[in-house]
């Protein structure tokens, strides 16, 4: 078996090609995934998320729990799990669900049994950031878990206004990813495939019903 030393030695022994140098990102040109000058972050996030078939709700902090409950009742979800990054809304959401006759289990308690996790109807998560210009939410293994945001047919994500970054550059240059754990992930709308004759189908392996709740600043 080839080991690290001999594997790298073979690569090192090859001649080196032209190196244009690593571009300095501060001068990086515009990408579609960057915020335009003067653009409102929450508005752009809403527009991009909706373009990717996410249902967007813009609410105040006191309306989060009620919005979550309404979406879950409409989706007729029974088996519901919440991830811990939903804090500070976890207690509030659980109480409101109880009023509607629903129970929100904690995902970390469901996940060890794959069969149970796979049978969930809905998950409600927070995130570590949202990227306005790409319409993405960013989740972490430490928070929403690796699969918390896509294991069930319905996913609701709650993002606070101050968590929204403008574009991908801001995300990767910032420090929110440092605490993400073993994985971080960008999700931008429902799971989709157009493999069969280019017909767009939502909800292939991940959720087909995706809601984003944007919480206005206090």
């Amino acid at each position: 078996m080839t080991d690290r030393a001999s594997f790298l030695a073979a690569i090192r022994s090859a001649p080196r090609g032209l190196d244009p140098g690593l571009p300095d990102r501060r001068d990086a040109p515009d990408a579609p995934t960057q915020l335009r000058v003067g653009e409102d972050r929450a508005a752009r996030l809403q527009a991009e998320a909706e373009a990717a078939s996410t249902v967007v709700h813009r609410v105040t902090a006191s309306d989060v729990a009620a919005t979550v409950a309404r979406v879950l009742v409409e989706a007729n979800s029974q088996r519901i799990a919440l991830t811990t990054d939903l804090a500070p809304f976890v207690d509030d959401v659980q109480a409101t669900l109880a009023v509607a006759g629903l129970t929100g289990a904690i995902y970390a308690e469901v996940a060890p049994n794959r069969a149970h996790a796979g049978a969930l109807d809905a998950t409600v998560t927070g995130c570590i950031a949202a990227v306005a210009a790409s319409g993405s939410i960013v989740t972490s293994a430490a928070g929403a878990g690796r699969a918390g945001a896509l294991i069930a047919p319905t996913h609701i994500c709650v993002v606070r206004d101050e968590q929204i970054v403008g574009g991908l550059h801001e995300l990767f240059d910032g420090d929110v990813l440092a605490e993400a754990g073993s994985l971080f992930a960008l999700q931008s709308g429902p799971s989709r495939s157009a493999d069969i004759e280019k017909v767009l189908i939502l909800g292939v392996h991940g959720p087909g019903n995706v809601h984003l709740i944007i919480v206005a600043p206090d």
Binding site: F7, D19, T33, A115, G118, L183, S188, G189, I196
Partner: protein, 482 residues
């Protein structure tokens, strides 16, 4: 806390799912010629129409996506990042390995295809892995991983919808992004109905739901998930995976073991380079703003995380890559597998992916296949192009595919195969020209790129390879802008 094999182990899959169909082992590269393979696709009118429609659509979406941005500057930035990463490949790989191991990833080294097969098969036997879910990986196609694993008693489930159809049909992917571009809904309907043991509704939605259900079961019971990797981030030891269906993330989240097989050229220096590469990969691949799921993993599940694998293995694959470093064809290693060059290639649009005989189709396939498989097996592919240059114009990392193809032609011409190949290229070109609609589409694509070969605004008949194509038809194009 993490998922263990005991949870649902031994749970049978639905009937018809127990034994996935066998994928053909041998590629056709050695047994047939390009012409013979092309003829197969061209004999299926649906396939030809579908390929042309889909590729038109993708190209239009890409153009729309970058309106109002400095697209060319972004591509130039991406080109520099890729060129820098490849020029310093051993250093960045070394750094990536340090970071990955620090985070608990077990790194393996495969010098060639057979070593890659051996390593993954060994992991499977050592850990009694009998059921594997797999997310689309071109590297694993390169090394024919599936048949090697089947040989050691592993059942494999391709989980990308298109790849799943390909696997169950015993077919090969026809496009790097859209594997069943060349298949009809009726064919999928027939296949899935046979698997289900009853007639399913002949609608994309119902067919997708059928696949989802069975594959969900596979996800929940698999002993391991095998994926490729779109990028390796040297700075942080990450493996990045993009999918639209979400199967990539489930593959790396639910089974207790994750194995990624990744070509060494996938290295990027820093996470921030993704801000440049990701919008280009998706914009040129599918025309989306960003792929629906971008997953960036470094190591197995950590303490306190609610889910995730107990082990993460990465198999680094060389298999002909290091041999290209510093040479005439090094830029082929810059490729990010977006598929855009296939979409605009007048030859690919006529003959589809299978004609290229191996894993990669279109211009990048015509370049990589002879380089990886050898001149003897695949030298003729360098002639399966019209040299219109449309691929150069569309490549997000500005690989000079046109020059690379010319270089490969020179190599192949030295072997004395010119006349037959020239006939082949001419035959393909004639196909395009013989039908007005296709002609218009292909010239729309070629305009601006034939410029490369044009002198004084008219494609000259002096280039020997163009002699027959231009006979009787002067193609007037704009003066070269460069």
């Amino acid at each position: 806390m993490s998922a263990t094999r005991e949870d649902v182990g031994g749970t049978p899959l639905p009937p018809g799912w127990a034994k996935p169909a066998h994928q053909p082992d041998a590629f056709e590269l050695t047994t047939t010629t390009f012409e013979e393979r092309a003829a197969k696709t061209m004999a299926r009118p649906f396939a030809r129409g579908a390929i042309a429609n889909a590729t038109d659509h993708a190209a239009a979406l890409t153009t729309a996506r970058f309106v109002g941005t400095d697209h060319d500057a972004l591509r130039e930035e991406a080109r520099k990042i890729r060129a820098h990463a490849i020029a310093n490949l051993p250093d960045y790989l070394d750094h990536w390995i340090d970071q990955a191991e620090r985070k608990g990833t077990v790194v393996h080294y495969a010098s060639d295809e057979s070593e890659a097969r051996r390593i993954v098969a060994q992991i499977c036997t050592d850990q009694q892995i009998t059921r594997v879910v797999k997310s689309k990986s071109m590297a694993s196609e390169e090394v024919s991983l599936n048949s090697a694993l089947e040989a050691v008693g592993v059942d494999i489930y391709e989980t990308d919808l298109g790849e799943f159809v390909v696997q169950a049909m015993g077919d090969r992917p026809g496009h790097v992004i859209a594997p069943i571009l060349h298949r009809t809904k009726d064919e999928v309907h027939e296949l899935f109905s046979a698997m289900a043991g009853h007639e399913l509704p002949n609608e994309a939605e119902a067919l997708t739901a059928f696949a989802r259900e069975g594959l969900r079961h596979a996800f929940l019971t698999a002993d391991a998930g095998i994926s490729g990797g779109n990028f390796l981030i040297a700075e942080t030891g990450d493996v990045l995976l993009v999918t639209n269906e979400g199967n990539g993330r489930l593959t790396t989240s639910l089974p207790p073991i994750h194995i990624a097989l990744v070509g060494i050229e996938k290295v990027l220096p820093r996470r921030r380079d993704l801000a440049v590469l990701l919008p280009l990969l998706t914009g040129h691949g599918t025309g989306q703003q960003i792929t629906t799921y971008v997953s960036v993993a470094a190591g197995p599940r950590r303490q306190g995380e609610p889910d995730g694998p107990e082990q993460m293995h990465v198999v680094l694959l060389d298999a002909g890559r290091s041999a290209l470093l510093g040479g005439e064809f090094e830029e082929a290693l810059h490729c990010i597998r977006c598929g855009a060059c296939q979409n605009v290639c007048p030859v690919y649009r006529q003959v589809g992916g299978h004609a290229y005989g191996w894993v990669y189709g279109g211009p990048i396939g015509a370049v990589l296949t002879p380089l990886f498989r050898g001149q003897e097996e695949a030298g003729e592919l360098a002639h399966a192009t019209t040299l219109c240059g449309a691929c150069d114009d569309v490549c997000p990392v500005k690989i000079p595919l046109h020059d690379l193809l010319l270089g490969l032609r020179r190599r192949s011409d030295a072997d004395g195969h010119v006349p037959r190949h020239e006939q082949l290229a001419f035959a393909l070109w004639a196909q395009v020209w013989s039908r007005p609609l296709l002609y218009r589409a292909s010239t729309a694509v070629a305009r601006g790129s034939l410029r490369t070969l044009a002198r004084d605004g008219v494609v000259s008949a002096k280039t020997p390879l163009l002699r027959r194509w231009t006979a009787g038809r002067d193609l007037v194009v704009g003066r070269r802008a460069r």
